[in-house]
Amino acid sequence: MSKIYTVLLADDDPDYLFQVAFYLRKAGFEVMAVESQAEAEQVIAKVKPDIAVFDLMMESDDSGFILCYKIKRKYPEVPVILATAVSRETGITFGLSGGQDREWIRADLYLEKGVRPEQLEQEIRKLLKI
C-alpha cells in the first residue's frame, strides 16, 4: 500500500475500539480512535479521514446517525460504515437498500457489530477500492 489511509473509528466500547484499532494499525492504516460522538465531531472539524467507522449508540441512541450527517455534510466523498448490534439483536432493521431509510441514514455500509477486525478491514478496503 503506497498511500497510508486514515480511518476515523468511533465506538464507546473501549475494548472493541482498542482491538479494532490495533488490528487496523497492524494492517497498515493510520487510525484515529475515539470513544464518543463529541470526540468524533472534534476530529471531523479538524481532519478529513479517508474513511469513517461509527458505532450507532454512544452518548445517545442516535450518535452514529448524527455523525453520518455531519461527516457527509463536510466531506460528502468520505465513505462511512455504521456499525451496531441493535439490528440483529432486536429485529429492527435499518436496511440501506430501502428507499425510506436511505433518505435519512447517510452511511455507505451498514455492519453488524461484533464483526471481526479482519472482516472490517476487508469492507474498508472495498469501500476505499484498494
Partner: protein
C-alpha cells in the same frame, strides 16, 4: 430528488393556482438532507373535498384557509389530528380572529401564512415547514425504534451479554495469534480488561437473578419482621470497599422504626441498589445521606448523593429496563441498566412509590415511600 405533496385548501381559485405556480419550480435544500425537496401541489376548493384528498393522497403538508364555504378550515385540521395523520398544517388566512388562531394552534397548526402573500413569503414558510417536517419524521422514527428496543427485553439482554463476550473473545484471539508479541507481559492490560468485563457481566447476571426473583417468586412464608436499621448497615458494609476507594462518606439516620413486616430480600434489593448507585454516581470525596423514617402510616427511605446528577430527560427513562444514562460523566461507570427497574418493581409490589429529584452536577435524591397498611396486603406477582 425527493418530492413532498402539498394540498392547498382554499375557495379562491387565484390562491390555489398561485400556490401551484410559485411552488411548481421551488425546491428546498437543507444541510441534513442530501437531496433537494420539490413539491407537488394538489388543490381543493372546499373542506369536504380537502378531506377526501387527504384520505386518498396523504399529503405531507396542508395549506388551509379557514374561511371555507362548507366546513371550516379548523374542522379539517381537527380531522387530521383525530386521524393522527403525519401532516404538517399551516393556516392561510386573510383575517384570523384570536379564537381561530388559538384553536388552530392547539390543534397543531404550526404556521400562519397571511393572505395575500408574496411568492417570497410563501416560499419562506414552505421552506421552514419542510425542514420541520423532515426533522419531525426522523425524531419520530427514532422514538418508535427506541420504544421497540426497550420492549425487547430479551434481545437487549442478549446484546448486553454478548458485548463483553465479544470483547473477551477479541483479547483471547489477540493472545492466541500472539498479535502483541510472545511475552505475556505485553498482554497485561488485555487480561486486566477481560477480567473487568467478566466482572461486569457477573454483576449483570446477579441483577438479572434479582429481577426474575422479584417478578415471579413471591412467597408469603418469606415475610418476617425485618429490622431496617440492620439492613441499612448491611447495605453500607457491602458497598464500603468501593466507597473507601472513592473516598465517599456515609451519613445515616433511622427514626421511629423498629421492625417492619416484609420480605427482607426485597428491602435488601431496594437499599443495596439505591445506596450502591449513590456511591457509584457520586464524585470523589462526596457524601451519601441515608434516612429512614417510619410514621404510623408509611415508611420513607431516602438516599441522597452529592454526585453527577441528571437532567429531566435523563430522569424520565431512569426506571426502564436496560436504560442507562449515557454521557461523558457516566462513560466509565459500568452498570447493567437493570438496578432501578428492579427497585421500581419491588416498590410497586408493596404499593409504594419511588421519586427522584436531581440536579446535574449537584446530586440526586431517591425517595421510596411505602404505605404501612399495604405491607400485609402484598401483591402476589407482577
Amino acid at each position: 430528488m425527493a418530492q413532498l405533496k402539498i394540498l392547498v385548501v382554499d375557495d379562491e381559485p387565484g390562491i390555489r393556482s398561485g400556490v401551484s405556480r410559485i411552488l411548481g419550480n421551488f425546491h428546498v435544500t437543507y444541510p441534513f438532507m442530501d437531496e433537494d425537496y420539490t413539491f407537488n401541489v394538489l388543490e381543493a376548493a372546499t373542506g369536504e373535498e380537502g378531506i377526501e384528498i387527504i384520505d386518498r393522497e396523504m399529503p405531507d403538508i396542508l395549506l388551509l384557509d379557514n374561511k371555507l364555504p362548507g366546513i371550516q378550515g379548523v374542522e379539517v385540521l381537527e380531522y387530521v389530528r383525530k386521524k393522527n395523520y403525519d401532516i404538517v398544517v399551516a393556516m392561510i388566512t386573510s383575517y384570523a380572529s384570536i379564537d381561530v388562531a388559538v384553536k388552530a394552534h392547539n390543534d397543531g397548526a404550526i404556521d400562519f401564512i397571511p393572505k395575500p402573500f408574496t411568492p417570497q413569503e410563501l416560499k419562506a414558510s414552505i421552506e421552514q415547514i419542510t425542514k420541520q417536517q423532515y426533522l419531525r419524521r426522523i425524531t419520530h422514527k427514532l422514538k418508535v425504534e427506541g420504544r421497540k428496543v426497550r420492549f425487547q427485553f430479551l434481545s437487549v439482554l442478549s446484546h448486553e451479554l454478548k458485548a463483553p463476550l465479544n470483547a473477551i473473545e477479541g483479547y483471547l484471539r489477540m493472545m492466541q495469534e500472539r498479535q502483541m508479541g510472545d511475552s505475556l507481559d505485553e498482554y497485561a492490560s488485555a487480561i486486566e480488561r477481560s477480567l473487568q468485563r467478566i466482572e461486569s457481566m457477573r454483576n449483570l447476571i446477579m441483577d438479572l437473578l434479582d429481577f426474575t426473583k422479584v417478578s415471579f417468586e413471591r412467597q408469603m412464608e418469606k415475610m418476617q419482621n425485618v429490622n431496617l436499621k440492620e439492613l441499612v448497615s448491611m447495605a453500607v458494609v457491602t458497598v464500603s470497599p468501593y466507597a473507601i476507594h472513592k473516598d465517599i462518606r456515609f451519613e445515616s439516620s433511622v427514626n421511629g422504626c423498629e421492625t417492619i413486616w416484609a420480605d427482607p430480600n426485597d428491602f435488601e434489593i431496594i437499599l443495596n441498589n439505591l445506596i450502591s448507585n449513590a456511591v457509584k454516581y457520586n464524585k470523589p470525596g462526596g457524601t451519601v445521606t441515608i434516612s429512614v423514617d417510619c410514621s404510623e402510616n408509611e415508611f420513607t427511605v431516602s438516599v441522597a448523593d452529592t454526585g453527577i446528577g441528571m437532567n429531566n430527560d435523563e430522569r424520565q427513562m431512569l426506571f426502564e429496563e436496560f436504560s442507562r444514562i449515557r454521557n461523558d460523566k457516566t462513560r466509565n461507570i459500568s452498570g447493567s441498566g437493570l438496578g432501578l427497574s428492579i427497585v421500581k418493581k419491588v416498590v410497586d409490589l408493596y404499593h409504594g412509590v419511588i421519586n427522584v429529584e436531581s440536579a446535574p452536577d449537584r446530586g440526586s435524591v431517591f425517595t421510596v415511600i411505602i404505605p404501612r397498611s399495604q405491607v400485609s396486603n402484598l401483591k402476589t406477582g407482577i
